[in-house]
Symmetry: C7
Amino acid sequence: MASIKPLQDRIIVKRFESEEKTASGIFIPDSAKEKPMEGEVIAVGPGRTYDNGNKMELTVKVGDRVLFAKYAGTEIKFDGQDYLIMREDDILGVVTK
Amino acid sequence: MASIKPLQDRIIVKRFESEEKTASGIFIPDSAKEKPMEGEVIAVGPGRTYDNGNKMELTVKVGDRVLFAKYAGTEIKFDGQDYLIMREDDILGVVTK
Amino acid sequence: MASIKPLQDRIIVKRFESEEKTASGIFIPDSAKEKPMEGEVIAVGPGRTYDNGNKMELTVKVGDRVLFAKYAGTEIKFDGQDYLIMREDDILGVVTK
Amino acid sequence: MASIKPLQDRIIVKRFESEEKTASGIFIPDSAKEKPMEGEVIAVGPGRTYDNGNKMELTVKVGDRVLFAKYAGTEIKFDGQDYLIMREDDILGVVTK
Amino acid sequence: MASIKPLQDRIIVKRFESEEKTASGIFIPDSAKEKPMEGEVIAVGPGRTYDNGNKMELTVKVGDRVLFAKYAGTEIKFDGQDYLIMREDDILGVVTK
Amino acid sequence: MASIKPLQDRIIVKRFESEEKTASGIFIPDSAKEKPMEGEVIAVGPGRTYDNGNKMELTVKVGDRVLFAKYAGTEIKFDGQDYLIMREDDILGVVTK
Amino acid sequence: MASIKPLQDRIIVKRFESEEKTASGIFIPDSAKEKPMEGEVIAVGPGRTYDNGNKMELTVKVGDRVLFAKYAGTEIKFDGQDYLIMREDDILGVVTK
C-alpha cells in the first residue's frame, strides 16, 4: 500500500472523528459539528536542517495523540482518506496517559 | 487520568472564573462577562531549542498565578475542561505573594 | 499584598491621571480626556535572554518617570488598580530632573 | 527538445490530471474539478546556498510522486504543456510504494 | 527644569515651525499648513546594543539640523512643548553649512 | 550607446513578445494578450554581498532564456525600449536546449 | 550654501524633468506626466554598518545617472528644490555610457 513520507519538520495526523451526539444524546448535524482539535500521528518527517547545518529531530512520535489549533495544517485526501499535514510547531501538546 | 504535555516553550493555563457579580453585588450576564486575564499554570513545556542548538528553559512554574493578554493563546477543551495553551512569551507577569 | 513580577524585558507602568481641567480651568469630560503618555515604573523584568545566550539587562529603574506612545503596552486591572505592562522597547524616554 | 533547469531550491512538477468522473461514474464539469494536490517531479534545482556559504541539497528526486497544497507554486506553460514551479519547502510529502 | 533622556537609538527633535505665508506673502491657514520635514536635534540616546553584544553609537549630534519623513516618529507634548521622538534610522539626512 | 548596469543581485530581462495569433490563427487584441513569462537576460549584476561579508555570484548569464512569474520585477522604459529589472531570486528557471 | 549629508546607506537623487511633449510634439499636461524613473545622484551616505560591526560601502557615486522604481524613496523640498532620498537598495541600475 502506498504511504506518505513527510519532509523536514512536517508530520501527518489523522484527525479524530467529531462527536455524533451531544453529551445529552442529541444528534449533531454535520454543518454544526466542531472540528476536533485532536488526532493521532501517522507519520513524522526526518526533522529540520537549518541554514547553519544544525539538524533538529522531532519530539512527537508515530502513534502519539496530539492537540492542535482548529485550522492548523493542510487537509489532504489520500487513498480515499482525509489527513492533515502540519509542522511540528503547530502541535500544542501531546496527550499522555 | 490522561494529561497534556506541552511542547517546546508552550504552557497550559487554567483561566480563573470571571466575576459573577459586580463590586456592588449586581449579577453579570455571561455575554457581558469580561474574560479574566489571569489564571494558574497547569503544565509547562521543556523549553525551546533554537537553531543554533542553544536551549532556553522556561521561568514560569506549575502552580504559578500568571497574567496574560485577553486573547492570548489557543482555547482547547480536554476531558470536559477548558484550558488555554500559550507560549511563555505571552505571559505578561507572575503574581507573587 | 500580592504584586506582579514582569517577565523578560517587560515593565509595569502606572499611567499618570489625565488633566481634570484645561489650562484655562474648563472641566474635561472623560470621553474627551487625552490618554497621558507618561507614567511611573512600578516593576521591571530581569531583562531579555537572546537565543545566542546573551542577556540584556534593562536600563529603566523602578520609580523612573517615563514617556511612551499612547497605545503602547497591555492594560490590566490588578487589585482594583489599572496598570500598563509593556516592553522596555516601548519606552520613548526617561524624564530626568 | 528544450527543457527547464530550475534554480536554487526550486523544483518543477507535472500536476496529475483531475478525476474525469466521480467514484459513482458521473462526469465532472471542468469548472467543478478539484485541482489535484499531487504530481510528479520533472526537474530539481541544485539546492539553496545560504548567506553563510552553506549549501543545502534537495531531498526530492526526479520521478518522485509528491503532495503539495492546492495553490502552491507558479503555473507556467512551456512547449504547450502546463507545469508548476515551486520551492521544495512547498512539498508536503513524498508518496512511497 | 525636567528634561527627557531618550533610550537606545532614539532621538528627540524639535520640528521647525511651518511657513506662515506663501512665497508670495499669502497667509496659510493652519489646516493647509504642510508639516515641515525639518527640525533640530534636542537630545540623543546612548546608541543601540544588539543581541550579539555589539553597541552602535549614534552619528547625529545635539544641535544638528535634520530631515525626516513627514510622519516619522511619535509626537509628544512635554512641559507645554511639542516634540518628536524617533529612531536615528528615521533621519533621512543632516543639513550641513 | 548608453546601457544599464544592474546592482547587486539584479538582472535585466527583455520580455518576449506575446503571441499575435492563437494557435488556430485568430488575431489576439492587445487587451487580451497574456504577458509572456519568458524573456532573454540582457545584463546581470555583480552578485549580492551579505552583511557577513560573503559575496554570492549570480548563476544566470547574459543571453540565457529564463522563466519568471507574470508580475515579477519592475518595468522600465530605456532608450524607447521596455525592459524588466528583477532579482535573480525572481527567476523560476533557465531554458536549456 | 547649505547641503544635505545622507546617513548610512541613503543617497540623494535629483529626478530628471518629465518630457514636456510626446514624441510627436504634443504638449503633456502636468496631471498626465509620467514620473521619470531616472535621475542624477547628488550625495551619498557613508555606507551601512551592520549589527555584526561589518561596514558596507556604497557602489553608486555622486554624478551617476541611475534608474529607480516610480515610487521609490521620500520626496523632500530643500532650498526650493525637489529631491528624492532613498536607500541604495532602491536603485535598480546605473546607466553607463
